[in-house]
C-alpha cells in the first residue's frame, strides 16, 4: 500500500516469543476450579505469566487464549486495559511511582524528575543494563506516607530526592519483610 499503515496481519517471529513453560500452564490450570468459567482465570493467568516472563508476550497471549478457550484478541483486550501488564520486556526491577494529588503536593514531582534523570529513562522504558524499568500509577493508596513508590512489591514511604540513592543501591529494596504467598507467582523451575 502506498501510504503508511501499520501491518497487523503479519508478525515477525521474534516479536512473538517467549512462550509459557509447561509448569506455568499447569499453574494456570490450577486456578480453574476457583471460577465457574475459564475466562475468569484470565487475570490470575496474566499475573502468573507476567511473573514468569516479565511481560506478556504475543505468544503468551495466544497460549493463554488457548488454555482459557477464548479468542486471542480477548487477551490483548484485557492486557491493554490494565496498567499493571507490560507488553514489552521489563528490567529486573520495576519502580512504580505514585503521582496522585497527595504525592504531588508532598514533592512527588521532584522525585520523579530526579528518578528519570538518575536512571536516564522515561516512563515504560528500561535502563540499558536491564536493571530498572519505571512507570507511574495514579494512586498507591499510601497517601499518609507521600510521596511513595513501589519497587516490585515493596513500598517505599516518604521518599525524598535525597533518599533515592540509598534506595536504588539497596540490594533488598524489592524484598518484603513478611511471609509471602506464592499463589500468583510463577512456579520455580527446577
Amino acid at each position: 500500500m502506498s501510504w503508511r499503515t501499520i501491518d497487523r496481519r503479519t508478525v515477525p517471529l521474534d516479536d512473538l516469543d517467549p512462550g509459557l513453560s509447561a509448569a506455568v500452564k499447569e499453574k494456570i490450570r490450577s486456578f480453574f476450579p476457583r471460577y465457574p468459567t475459564r475466562r475468569a482465570v484470565l487475570l490470575p493467568a496474566l499475573h502468573i505469566a507476567q511473573d514468569a516472563l516479565g511481560y506478556i508476550s504475543l505468544r503468551a497471549m495466544r497460549e493463554i487464549a488457548e488454555l482459557l478457550e477464548i479468542p486471542p484478541s480477548a487477551v490483548l483486550d484485557v492486557v491493554a486495559f490494565y496498567t499493571h501488564f507490560w507488553t514489552h520486556p521489563r528490567g529486573r526491577k520495576t519502580i512504580v511511582l505514585c503521582r496522585s494529588l497527595t504525592c504531588e503536593l508532598m514533592g512527588g514531582g521532584r522525585v520523579r524528575e530526579a528518578l528519570e534523570q538518575r536512571l536516564g529513562i522515561g516512563e515504560h522504558e528500561t535502563t540499558p543494563d536491564g536493571q530498572w524499568s519505571y512507570m507511574t500509577e495514579e494512586c498507591l493508596a499510601a497517601c499518609e506516607h507521600a510521596p511513595c513508590l513501589l519497587i516490585d512489591e515493596k513500598l517505599h514511604k516518604a521518599v525524598q530526592v535525597e533518599d533515592l540513592d540509598r534506595i536504588l543501591v539497596d540490594a533488598e529494596n524489592d524484598r518484603l519483610d513478611l511471609p509471602r504467598s506464592t499463589l500468583f507467582d510463577a512456579p520455580q523451575e527446577t
Binding site: R34, Y35, P36, T37, R39, A40, V41, L42, L43, P44, L46, H47, L68, I70, A74, D77, V78, F81, Y82, T83, H84, F85, V96, R99, S100, L101, T102, E104, L105, M106, E137, E138, C139, L140, A141, A142, C143, E144, H145, A146, L150, D152, E153, K154, L155, L176, L178, P179, R180, S181, L183, F184
Partner: protein, 482 residues
C-alpha cells in the same frame, strides 16, 4: 464515655495479623453468633443497625442484601478491596493491621446472603496486603472458619482472593464484576442490577472492605451500641483519612460526624498544618466528592456568610448528609487531602483532570472525550497559556458529563465532574488571577503552534481571518472587542 476504637483497635499491636491475636480479642465471636441465627434474621439484624456502605455511595448494606431474589440457588459475594480513590487508604490500613476482621465480615455477609463462593477483589498494587490477607485466609481455612461445614453449622463457604491489575473503574461494582469475569472492566448497564444478575449472571452482592469489617462488631456489641455512635442518619465508626501537608497524616477512626476542621486541626487527627500554613482547599471525601474552601478565606466575624464571597467551609460535617449542603457529591471515602495556601491550583486542576482522563474506561462518550479534553485544557492553563473562556468551557463540560443523572453508564463522570467543577467554581478568582498574570499573548501563540486550524477559526477573541487569494493567509491582529 470516650470513643473506643474498634476497626483500628489492632493498629500498632505486634503480630496483629495472626489469628491468635485476633481470637484473643473476641475474634470470630461475631461470626459464631451469626451462624446460630438464620440468614434472614441476620439480614434483619444488620438492617436494624442501618449499616451504610463505606465505599462511597452510602447505601444501607442490609437493604442491599434484601434485593437478592428469594428463589435464588447460587449467590456470589464480591468484596471490593479495589481501593483506588485518591487519597484513600483506610482499607489498606485495615488489612495491614487486622485481616481477620475483614475475613470474619466476609463470613458473616456470605452467611446472611447464603453465598457459597466469595471473591475478594483486591487491587493489584496492594502487594504486602495481598500476602497478609492470603496468609490470614490460609490460617482461617485451617482453623475451620472457611471451607466445609463451618463451626459445625453445616454452612460451607469458599473464599478466594482475586488480584486486580490497576484500573480505577474496577472499583465500580459492575466494573469489578466484569473484571472478575476476565474482561476489561467496563461497567455494565443497569438494570439488571448485580443483586439480580451479577457475577457470572448470578445474583451478586458487592460490599466494601470497611463495611464488612463493621459486621463482627455489630454482632458482638449489638445494634444499640452501633446506633449510639454517629449522627442522626450516619451511624457507627468511620475510618477517616487525612493526607497532605498536615502534621499527622494518617488514618483515624472516629464516630461518623467529624467536622472537616477537626480532621485537619484536631490533636487526635491531622494535628494542624505543617509550618502553620493555612488551608486553601480540601478534598474531604476522596477526589470525586469535590472540594471545600479552607480557612485561607475567613468568614466575617459575625459569622454571616455572603454566598457571593469566598468563605471558609471547613465546618462541613463529614457524614452522609451534611456534605451535600456544601455542594459535595457525598461523603465518599471520607479521605481528605489538604491543599496548602502556597499551592498553585493549576497544578491541582491538572492532577485531578489527568487522573480522570487516565482512569476513564472509555465506554461512554462524554466521559471518554470530556475528561481528555479537560486534561488538555488544564495542561495548557498550567503551561501559562490559559484563557478565561477555558474556565467556562470546563464548567460547561462538567455539567454535560455528569450533572444530570443518567447521562452515563457508571458514576465515574459524575465523580470527575464534581471535583473539577467545584475547584473552578469555588476558586475561580485564583484561576482568573493566574491567567491574567500570564505573559501577554501566551495563549494565542501556544494555540497557534499546536493547532493552527483552531487558531484560524473566528472563535478566538481578538483574531480575524483574512482570506487572501482564495486561501487562508496569516491571521492579523485586530483590536479585541471592548
Amino acid at each position: 464515655m470516650p470513643f473506643e476504637r474498634v476497626l483500628m483497635r489492632h493498629v500498632g499491636v505486634p503480630n496483629s495479623t495472626s489469628l491468635a491475636v485476633y481470637k484473643a480479642d473476641d475474634g470470630y465471636a461475631g461470626a459464631a453468633r451469626a451462624l446460630k441465627m438464620t440468614p434472614d434474621d441476620l439480614v434483619e439484624f444488620v438492617k436494624k443497625a442501618n449499616l451504610r456502605g463505606r465505599g462511597g455511595a452510602g447505601f444501607p448494606a442490609g437493604v442491599k442484601w434484601t434485593f437478592l431474589p428469594k428463589d435464588r440457588t447460587v449467590t456470589y459475594l464480591c468484596v471490593n478491596a479495589d481501593e483506588s480513590e485518591p487519597p484513600t487508604f483506610c482499607n489498606r490500613v485495615l488489612i495491614d493491621s487486622d485481616p481477620h476482621m475483614l475475613l470474619e465480615g466476609v463470613l458473616i455477609a456470605a452467611y446472611a446472603t447464603r453465598t457459597t463462593v466469595a471473591y475478594i477483589y483486591m487491587r493489584g498494587e496492594f502487594c504486602a496486603q495481598f500476602h497478609i490477607l492470603q496468609r490470614a485466609l490460609d490460617e482461617a481455612y485451617a482453623a475451620g472458619y472457611f471451607g466445609r461445614n463451618i463451626l459445625g453449622s453445616g454452612y460451607s463457604l469458599e473464599c478466594y482472593i482475586h488480584r486486580g491489575a490497576g484500573a480505577y473503574v474496577c472499583g465500580e461494582e459492575t466494573g469489578l464484576i466484569e473484571s472478575l469475569e476476565g474482561k476489561r472492566g467496563w461497567p455494565r448497564i443497569k438494570p439488571p442490577f448485580p443483586a439480580i444478575e451479577g457475577l457470572f449472571r448470578k445474583p451478586t452482592v458487592v460490599n466494601n472492605v470497611e463495611t464488612l469489617a463493621c459486621l463482627p462488631h455489630i454482632l458482638t456489641r449489638g445494634v444499640d451500641w452501633w446506633l449510639s455512635i454517629g449522627t442522626a442518619n450516619s451511624k457507627g465508626p468511620k475510618m477517616y483519612c487525612i493526607s497532605g501537608p498536615v502534621n499527622r497524616p494518617g488514618c483515624y477512626e472516629a464516630p461518623l460526624g467529624l467536622s472537616c476542621r477537626e480532621l485537619i486541626y484536631g490533636a487526635d487527627f491531622g494535628g494542624g498544618m505543617c509550618d502553620g500554613k493555612k488551608v486553601k482547599a480540601v478534598f474531604p471525601g476522596g477526589l470525586s466528592m469535590g472540594a471545600l474552601r479552607g480557612d485561607m478565606f475567613p468568614k466575617p466575624p459575625d459569622g454571616k456568610v455572603d454566598p457571593r464571597q469566598d468563605h471558609d467551609e471547613l465546618d462541613c460535617i463529614l457524614d452522609f448528609d451534611d456534605v451535600r449542603k456544601y455542594d459535595l457529591l457525598g461523603l465518599g471515602t471520607a479521605a481528605a487531602v489538604v491543599i496548602p495556601e502556597d499551592a498553585d491550583l493549576r497544578d491541582t486542576l491538572l492532577n485531578v483532570t489527568r487522573f480522570y482522563s487516565q482512569e476513564s474506561c472509555g465506554q461512554c462518550t462524554q466521559c471518554r472525550e470530556g475528561t481528555a479534553w479537560m486534561q488538555k485544557i488544564a495542561e495548557r492553563i498550567r503551561a501559562g497559556a490559559g484563557r478565561p473562556v477555558d474556565l467556562d468551557i470546563i464548567v460547561e463540560a462538567t455539567r454535560n458529563m455528569g450533572m444530570m443523572p443518567g447521562l452515563s453508564i457508571c458514576g465515574l463522570p459524575d465523580g470527575a465532574a464534581w471535583p473539577i467543577r467545584t475547584l473552578i467554581q469555588k476558586f475561580r478568582r485564583e484561576f482568573e488571577q493566574r491567567i491574567a498574570a500570564q505573559a501577554p499573548g501566551a495563549a494565542e501563540s501556544l494555540i497557534r503552534r499546536t493547532n493552527a486550524a483552531a487558531y484560524e477559526l473566528p472563535v478566538l477573541h481578538g483574531r480575524a481571518v483574512q482570506p487572501v487569494g482564495g486561501t487562508y493567509a496569516t491571521p492579523v491582529d485586530v483590536a479585541p472587542p471592548p
